[in-house]
């Protein structure tokens, strides 16, 4: 269970999150919607302790992580699998070395076992052929598939955190990523997806939050979102109408 209790956060003088409160269960499929710069990615970074709130509490299974030292956050971070926007693969490492990275850091596997595990993970997303490629040789969709596999290579996460997983992808690649996200959550593992693509959010989530001015102005299911009269949400929903008309 993730709980935000009146969390505020600012970058310099710019207040991004203003006494934000919400809670999410591990098996929920939640989409956080909002405009660019509204603090969606900041929420994900706060959950895994990459950023510290200015005030308020962030409870992970009842444990406040806001005050934890960097070393103490390791146990929290392995509960989540976070995939950053555009994948964040290490440029200087090959696909194999990228996926093997957490295995080398977290496990005592031999080189042979690592090779086997990396191949197995890449096979799962149809990228075994790309094992020796460098990240610059991959398409945007391939980047994200490798990043998703890397994020869960060393341990079984309880929950996934996706930062704009389909942004900038063509519809076919976005479809592959959406199917992969759904496939990985089959075993009851939930996720938080941060996006401004409402069409993909509708496909992936059953709970929606809308962020505006550092606060959650909407929290509800699909029907409630469709019936919302908040002007910004109506603008977001236009994308849905466009996709349906097509």
């Amino acid at each position: 269970m993730i709980e935000f209790d009146r969390v505020s956060f600012s970058y310099g003088n710019r207040l991004v999150l203003n006494e934000l409160s919400f809670s999410v269960h591990e098996d929920e499929r939640t989409a956080i919607l909002g405009g660019s710069g509204d603090g969606k990615t900041t929420i994900l970074k706060l959950i895994v302790g990459l950023l510290r709130p200015d005030s308020g509490r962030i409870l992970i299974h009842g444990e406040d992580i806001a005050e934890k030292a960097e070393e103490g956050l390791r146990d929290i971070r392995i509960k989540f699998s976070i995939v950053f926007q555009e994948g964040a693969l290490f440029d200087s490492l090959s696909v194999k070395e990228n996926v093997a990275f957490p295995l080398r850091e977290y496990t005592g596997m031999t080189e042979e076992e690592i090779d086997q595990k990396v191949r197995e993970l890449l096979r799962r997303v149809g990228l075994e052929e790309a094992i020796g490629h460098m990240p610059e040789e991959l398409s945007g969709g391939m980047h994200r598939r490798v990043a998703i596999m890397r994020s869960m290579a060393a341990f079984e996460p309880k929950m996934f955190l996706y930062d704009e997983p389909t942004t900038g992808l063509d519809p076919v690649s976005a479809d592959v990523i959406c199917k992969l996200i759904l496939d990985l959550s089959e075993r009851g593992r939930g996720y938080i997806i941060v996006t401004h693509k409402v069409f993909d959010a509708f496909r992936l989530a059953n709970r929606f939050m809308f962020l505006k001015g550092g606060r959650i102005v909407f929290d509800g299911d699909r029907q409630a979102l469709l019936g919302s009269t908040i002007p910004e949400i109506r603008i977001f929903l236009r994308e849905l109408n466009l996709n349906q008309n097509q």
Binding site: K45, V48, L50, E70, R74, R77, I78, I82, F84, Q85, E86, A88, L89, F90, D91, S92, F101, P102, E105, Y106, A154
Partner: protein
Amino acid sequence: MDRIKGFIGQLQEFYILSFHGLMGILRRPFYAQDMVEQMNYAGSGSLFVVLLISLFIGMALSLQLSAELSRLGLKMYTGKVVGISIIREIGPVLIAVVFAGRVGSGMASELGSMVLGHQVDTLRVFGVDPVKKLVTPRILSAVAMLPVLTVIGDAVALFGAYYIAVFVSHQSGTFFWSSIRDILTYENVLAGSIKPFIFGYLISCISCYMGLSTKGGAVGLRRTTTKAVVISFIAIIVADFIMTRVLLYILGFTL
């Protein structure tokens, strides 16, 4: 008031990064492969530029001094004056400036792009200390490679100076090298060889700090890379003056 506070805060962050970056050599895990890669980039990658610049600086310096000393009837001292200038001052400073321009800017832009691409965040998520993994190997590579490049650069600059002195200014080659041998004293060598270690540490710390504090996309990356190079240049010149003053005092040179 906010700007002063901000500046003091940055200075504090810089000191902490510089300290932890250096202390990283004492803590496990040791990223030996990263260190070798960085040494290769900083050392062999910079060798050609250092050779070229040192050769021409040595030749230019020899030309200038030969011309000036000829007018005073002191042409035979070209080797001595050129040698002292290169070994004590011009060699270390010039090669440090080249190193800051090539390696320092590379460090800042590489780390900056890793920050912007969330690669540094990914390292932290995987439980890896970015300072240990990214900063320590860069500090060590700079501290190890800059002195080596300086020694090679000094030698090449002296060779350039010798070529001009002998084949253009028609001086005795034997006398030139014996003058150089005379000035290769413990004091001169020490004065010239301590500086590159300090310059290497300063350049790598400044560049890593600038790179890791990158914000604001491509424009931010340009800003931090430029800042890394400019601040490194200033730090080299200021540190050179301070070290020269201190070393002259310690080694007993009278002014």
